[in-house]
């Protein structure tokens, strides 16, 4: 039984008939079947109901004939029964399923970055001009020693744990091959290599053509264990155990069979067309002790030559969990906040589970300091980092580096239309459809990503210079450089930041 949908269109497609030359570019570009050629009227028409608002057609229309607007269709005003709430119910009444969505939490949870401001030097201490003075952004990820012993000949006696050098403290977050296309992976890998940072395979394995970027690659091991073998572990610069993800804390992932193409199946090592199921827990990890066992299994497998990272979703007890992770032997801990994005997650989880990354970061950094073990692991945060200011504030709150996922995809063309889970991404990013994936050209993609990191680096150096410091290390965990605006005492207390003016 097909039910007529009660869902109204979300967007309205406006076509200027004066400008439209019927070239059909919009028809070819839209993977959601919005535009079509009407033979009877010899006109290109649009089905607004299909439009997802991704702007692909608008950007590629050669005559600028198209515009997309939010549908002006109004419901009677009701603060409780907002259009999204109504339409979610309509969808579920028509399908009986869990609502699936893509990208990060789009709800109005408070964004603490916007309530934190940085300091600058005035009169009493001079600022530094980054155009004339060297500015140091170099960051080393990995376990730092409790103490350093230098022998009589002035050389280091302490054996250092493996360290990974970053020229810029911004890495590309885990996005698996299968969720995103091979061209996206190549763009990320090349940009990371060029800029001296790391990109992350996600849990779908590493395509053979990308092994050459191994030094700048973080290889992930998740509950599905897809594409995990000795060569893969050996290829990366860091091995990351994924326990959880900010967009879907506590649940697993299902890469739908449609996206398991021949190439994806060979990289994940599962048959084509089957769902790639990542169970909610890793079935060899039910405790901190078990986590330690996997950490050391991976250290054994990589001869103790690489830092082992452990990624969790930021949840209520993040600080206590992080302490356990560090004690379990993690060299890097990654916290992914409630605004962390995904290729597909149940909407109810994405929008309601987890805590803001700012709070989790502050709590974890504070806790590890209190316990005297902050040096034993680097802290990396992710989940909604939008610009270099967010990066600088995260560093000041205590992070060693950040991951960016959504921001990187936006650099590649993503407009955050939240259709990743459909596998139909018109920008060719979050899809394995070969006719779409070719829309991302790795030459151009890598350039755009490297440009973004260059721009952010320059901005971070400017902010550092203004603070009167010449190294990122001087800002790291230095919360005195931050002040809070419009925050409650409790919030300021958790963030460990004083109020503006204080």
């Amino acid at each position: 039984m097909t039910v007529k949908t009660y869902l109204p269109p979300r967007f309205v497609v406006e076509r200027d008939p004066e400008r439209c030359i019927k070239c059909e570019v919009c028809i070819n570009q839209c993977s959601f079947d919005t535009h079509y050629y009407d033979w009877d009227d010899d006109e290109v028409q649009s089905r607004s109901g299909n439009c997802v608002g991704c702007h692909r057609c608008v950007v590629f229309c050669p005559t600028g004939a198209l515009n997309i607007k939010k549908s002006p269709l109004d419901y009677r005003d009701n603060y409780n029964w907002r259009p999204e709430v109504i339409e979610d119910i309509i969808k579920q009444a028509e399908s009986g399923g869990m609502l699936l969505t893509g990208m990060g939490n789009d709800k109005a949870h408070r964004i603490y970055w916007d309530h934190l401001v940085l300091n600058a030097s005035q009169v009493t201490n001079p600022s530094i001009d980054p155009l004339r003075e060297p500015m140091e952004l170099t960051t080393y990820l990995g376990r730092k020693p409790d103490q350093v012993v230098i022998d009589s000949s002035c050389s280091l006696e302490t054996v250092l744990a493996p360290q990974v050098r970053l020229d810029v403290p911004v890495m590309f977050a885990a996005m698996s091959y299968g969720a995103v296309s091979i061209n996206v992976h190549e763009s990320l890998a090349r940009a990371a290599t060029e800029m001296g940072t790391m990109w992350n395979t996600g849990e779908g394995g590493l395509h053979p053509t990308l092994y050459k970027y191994g030094k700048n690659t973080i290889v992930q091991v998740a509950s599905g264990r897809f594409g995990v073998h000795a060569e893969y572990l050996g290829a990366g610069g860091i091995v990351e155990i994924k326990i959880g993800q900010g967009a879907k804390p506590g649940i697993g992932g299902h890469l739908p069979g449609e996206k398991v193409s021949a190439e994806v199946s060979s990289t994940r090592m599962i048959p084509m067309g089957t769902d790639a199921l990542s169970p909610a827990p890793q079935h060899d990890i039910y405790s901190i002790e078990d986590l330690s066992q996997l950490i050391y299994a991976l250290k054994e497998a990589t001869l103790y030559e690489k830092p082992i990272s452990v990624k969790i979703a930021a949840v209520h007890n993040a600080a206590a969990i992080a302490s356990g992770m560090v004690r379990a032997g993690a060299d890097i801990i990654v916290l992914d906040g409630i605004r962390g994005a995904t290729g597909a997650a149940p909407k109810v989880i994405r929008d309601n589970v987890g805590i803001p990354i700012e709070m989790a970061l502050a709590a974890v950094d504070t806790r590890l300091r209190q316990e005297g073990i902050r040096n034993r692991a680097s802290v990396v945060v992710s989940g909604g980092i939008r610009n270099s200011a967010d990066v600088a504030k995260a560093i000041a709150l205590g992070a060693d580096a950040v991951y960016i996922g959504t921001a990187a995809l936006i650099a590649l063309g993503c407009t955050v239309c939240q259709q990743c889970h459909t596998g139909k991404c018109a920008w060719g990013i979050c899809t394995t459809d070969l006719s779409l994936t070719k829309r991302v050209n790795p030459d151009i993609g890598a350039r755009r990503l490297a440009n973004l990191l260059r721009g952010w680096s320059l901005e971070i150096k400017d902010m550092l210079g203004g603070l009167g410091v010449n190294a990122l290390e001087s800002l790291r965990g230095n919360r005195l450089h931050l002040r809070g605006v419009g925050l409650t005492d409790t919030e300021l207390n958790i963030l460990g930041v004083r109020a503006a003016g204080d």
């Binding site: 299902h254 048959p271 067309g273 199921l277 079935h283």
Partner: protein, 251 residues
């Protein structure tokens, strides 16, 4: 450590696992093709990061994650294996003359595991296969709950040889979330013991050939009369769906 011409030997008594594995690795990398570890007592990760064929005999009780990520060697355990035996193994063989613990064969991508007696919970969980690579897990005794959970490939055989007359496999939730591969059980199980995503199938000629070959191997390692073992009927369990959770979601 004493070395005869052929079999290298390590006395593992009191050696920390990291040192033991480093020594084992060094020996195998230097061309030792047969290594005996004696007095093994709980050392973890034996066989991890050994990427070439070698015969490793373990006397005692190896610790968790025996052969994790292993790629090539054959490990024979004269004793019991603990949890995580063959975790994410790629290639090689593990033969256990005793019991094995929980999650035996977790996420194995290839290779073969033979356990003479019983295994713990979630054995065979999330085993995979791709093309020629098909992991195999053969268990002479019986298994605990969630046997073959989330299986995505490979073959698991449960023989129940140590069950008494009239005694049955007690595992429940067998094959929960299974979406690939096959489970062969000697004897039968009730439908309440099966996960929702798995169902019985008729055994074809090919299945019997596969089972007979594996039972032959099992008997070769541990003894037993193949014809006698094959007399009891087998049950074949396969996933009902390639995409067990495809209908959970609304785009």
């Amino acid at each position: 450590m004493t070395q005869t011409e052929k079999v290298a030997r390590i006395d593992a008594a009191g050696i920390y696992y990291r040192d033991l594995n480093a020594r084992l690795r060094e020996m195998v990398n230097n061309g030792a093709s047969q290594v005996e570890l004696v007095n093994v007592c709980g050392q973890r990760y034996i066989g991890t990061n050994l990427n070439r064929p070698a015969e490793i005999a373990i006397y005692g009780t190896p610790g968790n994650d025996l052969g994790a990520f292993m790629d090539g060697p054959r490990i024979t355990v004269h004793g019991n294996a603990q949890d995580g035996c063959g975790n994410t193994m790629n290639n090689g063989e593990i033969i256990v003359h005793g019991h094995a613990g929980d999650i035996t064969g977790l996420s194995a991508r290839g290779g073969r595991i033979f356990v003479r007696d019983d295994v713990g919970y979630r054995a065979g969980i999330h085993m995979k296969e791709y093309g020629e690579k098909k992991p195999v897990l053969v268990i002479g005794g019986t298994a605990q709950d969630f046997f073959g959970e989330y299986m995505a490939g490979g073959a698991v055989v449960l023989l129940g040889l140590n069950l008494k007359e009239g005694e049955r496999h007690r595992a429940k939730f067998i094959g929960t979330g299974m979406h690939g591969g096959v489970i062969y059980l000697r004897g039968s199980v009730d439908s309440y013991q099966l996960g929702r995503e798995v169902g019985g199938a008729t055994l074809e000629e090919e299945d019997f050939n596969t089972i007979r070959k594996l039972v032959n191997e099992y008997a070769g390692y541990f003894g037993g009369d193949v014809d006698e073992i094959m007399k009891l009927p087998f049950t074949k369990l396969v996933p009902l769906y390639l995409r067990p959770y495809g209908r959970l979601y609304t785009p």
